[in-house]
């Protein structure tokens, strides 16, 4: 395969991992509803349901980062080193999740159960919003300059530098980035409600509670999502020419969706699936499998958004400080040899997905009941 084909392939894999990650953020969405859950049994069932899946989301985040590093190291180097504070806050918001489930009810945990629930809430809220903000900078630009010649500058050998003194925090004050952040948060909360409706059983109070949260969060999400689409599709994108020069193009992301109509079709199917799940759940209360429709729908929409971000000669990380420093899949990737090696490795991804599906099919064959939460000897 050619380098260009492998760059395209690896952007697709990054898009798949990104889409999976956003789907799996239902764990974070569920966590945001935990702290204010007054019903003790509902809280126990919720935390034990989410607690069995948190590592899957966490691992997907780590693999997403690792795959990005391996396939597009210049992005990793430029964004992580430059938007230092944004990535540090994302990092901390996920670190505090990793031990909270295991520690929250253990005797001797020093800080008490509510403290760990607060950490899970922080992870749920800030993790989603900040991840959305970080991805927002990929659409709407970031303040960096890349000068590879600096490598031989003894006094300042760093090739990527950030021009904003806020080192990533400036994105938190950017309306479109923040809008995407809150869209991700409410998507996660909606998905969390759908997931809990499907995974918990035997307690009418719990079911009714998550139906209400599902309806409320779906409404807020739809408003945010439509606003975000309006902002995104009317925004300029950046296109690179064969000689590497970069120029702004009006409505670039919208035009990408038209140019790559197959992704446009997937995008529409995804949106329709999410809408179907929401309306089916509202008008047919007995229907609890909406997570599968919103899940597949979310996956397709995010996959399409990543596609219009990276394909069709689009700069997936535009620089607002120096437009020609903008990163695209051609100028930021690993070499042909490394991408080839990694592509052989990627052939095992379906095997990984199959065993994950098989294991969770066995583990989730029966929904979690109040009796199980009372009897299990390994509880969160």
């Amino acid at each position: 395969m050619t380098l260009s084909a492998l760059q395209t392939y690896w952007w697709l894999l990054i898009s798949v991992l990104g889409a999976l990650l956003v789907f799996l953020l239902f764990v974070q969405g569920g966590q945001t509803m935990l702290l204010f859950q007054k019903n003790g049994m509902a809280r126990q069932m919720t935390v034990n349901s989410l607690g069995r899946k948190w590592e899957l989301t966490f691992t997907t985040l780590v693999v997403f980062g690792g795959a990005f590093f391996a396939s597009f190291p210049l992005f990793y180097s430029t964004s992580f080193g430059g938007a230092y504070w944004l990535w540090m806050l994302i990092l901390v918001s996920f670190v505090i999740q990793a031990f909270s489930y295991e520690f929250r009810r253990k005797p001797g945990n020093i800080f008490g159960t509510r403290f760990y629930d607060l950490l899970l809430f922080i992870n749920g809220c800030f993790g989603c919003v900040l991840l959305g903000v970080a991805v927002g900078t990929m659409f709407f630009g970031a303040d960096f300059v890349v000068e590879k010649g600096n490598l031989v500058n003894g006094s300042a050998p760093v090739i990527s530098s950030w021009t904003s003194p806020l080192h990533g925090l400036e994105a938190v004050f950017s309306f479109p980035c923040l809008l995407l952040g809150f869209t991700v948060l409410y998507l996660a909360r909606m998905q969390g409600s759908f997931y809990l409706l499907n995974n918990l059983s035997g307690d009418a109070v719990v079911t009714s509670h998550y139906r209400r949260t599902m309806i409320l969060n779906s409404g807020i999400f739809l408003v945010l999502f439509l606003t975000f689409l309006a902002v995104l599709f009317t925004a300029d994108g950046y296109e690179y020419a064969a000689d590497g020069t970069v120029s702004a193009v009006q409505y670039k992301y919208f035009m990408n969706l038209i140019d790559m109509w197959w992704f446009g079709a997937l995008f529409l199917i995804g949106v329709l699936l999410v809408l179907y799940a929401i309306f089916a759940a509202i008008f047919k209360p007995s229907k609890t499998n909406g997570i599968w429709f919103t899940g597949v729908g979310t996956f397709l929409v995010i996959l399409s958004l990543f596609a219009i971000l990276g394909y069709n000669n689009t700069c997936y990380y535009p620089s607002v400080a120096d437009v020609n420093s903008s990163l695209n899949i051609a100028n930021s990737s690993s070499t042909l040899f490394t991408l080839e090696v990694m592509s052989w490795v990627s052939l095992f991804i379906p095997v990984v997905l199959i065993y994950i599906w098989y294991v969770w099919r066995k583990m989730d064959s029966k929904p979690i009941t109040p009796a199980e939460v009372l009897e299990d000897d390994h509880l969160y």
Binding site: F80, G154, S160
Partner: protein, 520 residues
């Protein structure tokens, strides 16, 4: 420039802090996952409930520890980008691949099957559960393999070449990266040391049970299994440690010199068995480096080269360069650091010339520059130094850590032999309070030994991030030192809370178990 140096030091401190805290949890995960898998195998084969109950007890402690390892591990992955962004570009083409493979193969395996381990007892068959436990243990080892491949590559860069057009190193042979002798040795050394630590932990906690006069049968079963895992792990750690010493001598001689506090090397060099460094010794004076020492004749030559007549260079030899005829009549030679610095600068200048020639389309100048660059690239990293002394690692920390590791290892060998002797031949000794105390106090000892090993490996290789090619000062991100200071202290607070809560929970669970019969 001062800010740059400050960023380097704070970034180093932050990464070292994270790595050391991460390493508090990882070896126990490696060791306990194997021990738990062996216990469950016993349950599967014998169908005896007591093995299941024992498995569940140790699995509980494994789970508490595992979560902390996950929490601290992700920080290291992020910090490669946030704090060492130049490094991420310079070698990302090579270094990123093992990290991604670790995620795809190992992390998903661990995170999927660990859920079956904890929540699947009543949901899947016994065979499936046992397979999940072994796959979790396998995933842990697989994870160690890939991250140690990445770490070993930094100490011994193989399978790569520099591409001046892209201003970075690129991978040319994946097999050389994965199966480099340093990577293989480091992998086995680390995994076996995890078995050792897991063994000490199990024996030590079992001694606590005996101290509380409870769970005698569970303690005996655990001491037998933990003792064997630990003993085998330790013997293999020592064997691979010997291989590691030879590799350090060959690829990182300055690290070996620092490990020994050796300034002036010789043929048939003695090994410092025990000693105290002279704190006023520096490169600028001729004072004796040791206040006192007990030496093992020819020890270092044998350790480093498996040859009593070989020459082992000291710090001064490496700084000043040497040409020596060793005890076998062979001439060994090396350039001085000043010469290497000049050649490194020559390589960097050639790279700048290459870039300029490429921009103006001067093919002849480009070819000449490329030739000069390739001829001197092995010294590229030295070009960032202004003084040879910048190439010397902290001697004291490396020297004492090495001694803690080796002497601690010797003590642990005795510990396992005695523990196994007691449990098989003299169980009455295991009723004595002082024996219990030795078992309990050996738990912090094995952690000190384990951490000391990593200090030798990582502090000893300073100032290099990639041996000979990139020093830490060229690997950093362009951020303010104050930013890194703030995140450093933020992590101090998080880690303190995490470690205190982790130890507290472990102690409470162990104490709770000691108040009942866990096999009933």
């Amino acid at each position: 420039m001062n800010d740059l140096m400050s960023v380097v030091d704070w970034s180093r401190a932050q990464f070292a802090l994270t790595a050391m805290v991460h390493w508090l949890f990882v070896p126990l995960t490696i060791g306990l996952s194997l021990i738990v898998a062996l216990m469950e195998t016993m349950y599967y084969r014998t169908k005896l409930e007591k093995w299941k109950k024992l498995t569940k007890f140790w699995m509980l402690l494994f789970g508490i520890n595992f979560a902390c390892g996950v929490a601290t591990g992700i920080i290291l992955e992020f910090e490669f980008g946030t704090n060492w962004s130049n490094y991420s570009w310079f070698v990302g083409d090579i270094f990123g691949a093992p990290l991604a493979i670790e995620g795809i193969f190992a992390f998903f395996m661990e995170s999927t099957f660990i859920a079956v381990m904890f929540f699947g007892w009543n949901k899947v068959s016994k065979g499936f559960h046992l397979a999940a436990t072994w796959l979790t243990a396998f995933g842990v080892v697989l994870s160690a393999l890939w991250i140690l491949v990445a770490n070993a590559w930094m100490q011994y860069p193989a399978g790569m070449e520099f591409d001046p057009d892209q201003m970075r190193n690129v991978m040319v042979n994946f097999g050389d990266v994965v199966f480099s002798p340093v990577a293989m040795n480091k992998f086995f050394h680390t995994v076996f040391s995890g078995w050792t630590l897991g063994g000490v932990f199990v024996v030590g906690v079992s001694c606590f049970m005996l101290f509380r006069k409870s769970n005698r049968e569970a303690a005996m079963m655990s001491i037998k299994l933990g003792g064997w895992v630990g003993l085998i792990g330790l013997i293999l750690t020592m064997y691979t440690g010997d291989g590691s010493a030879v590799q350090v001598s060959r690829y990182q001689p300055m690290k070996l010199a620092a490990m020994e506090g050796l300034y002036d090397g010789s043929v048939g060099q003695d090994l410092v068995g025990f000693g105290v460094l002279n704190p006023s010794k520096s490169l600028d004076n001729t004072e004796d480096p040791m206040v006192f020492s007990i030496d093992i004749p020819y020890g270092l030559s044998i350790l480093a080269n498996h040859d009593a007549n070989s020459f082992v260079p000291g710090i001064n030899d490496l700084i000043n360069g040497y040409t020596i005829v060793d005890g076998n009549g062979e001439t060994v030679t090396d350039l001085s650091y000043n010469e290497k610095i000049q050649l490194g600068k020559k390589a960097q200048e050639a790279l700048a010339v290459y870039q300029a020639a490429t921009e103006r389309g001067d093919e002849k100048a480009r070819e000449e520059a490329l030739e000069t660059l390739r001829a001197n690239y092995q010294y590229f990293g030295y070009g960032y130094f202004s003084d040879p002394s910048q190439g010397v690692p902290p001697v004291g920390l490396t020297f004492y850590s090495f001694r803690v590791m080796v002497m601690g290892g010797g003590y642990l060998l005795l510990f396992f032999i005695v523990a196994l002797f007691c449990v098989y031949k003299k169980q009455t000794w295991l009723d004595k309070r002082w024996v219990h105390w030795i078992g309990i106090l050996s738990i912090p000892v094995v952690w000190m030994v384990s951490e000391a090993g990593w200090i030798v490996a990582e502090v000893g290789r300073q100032p290099w991030v990639i041996q000979d090619l990139m020093p830490a000062r060229a690997a950093i991100s362009a951020i303010q030192a104050s930013s890194v200071q703030i995140t450093f202290w933020m992590f101090v607070v998080i880690f303190l809370g995490l470690v205190i809560a982790d130890i507290s929970i472990l102690c409470r669970e162990i104490s709770k178990a000691s108040k009942k019969e866990i096999l009933k």
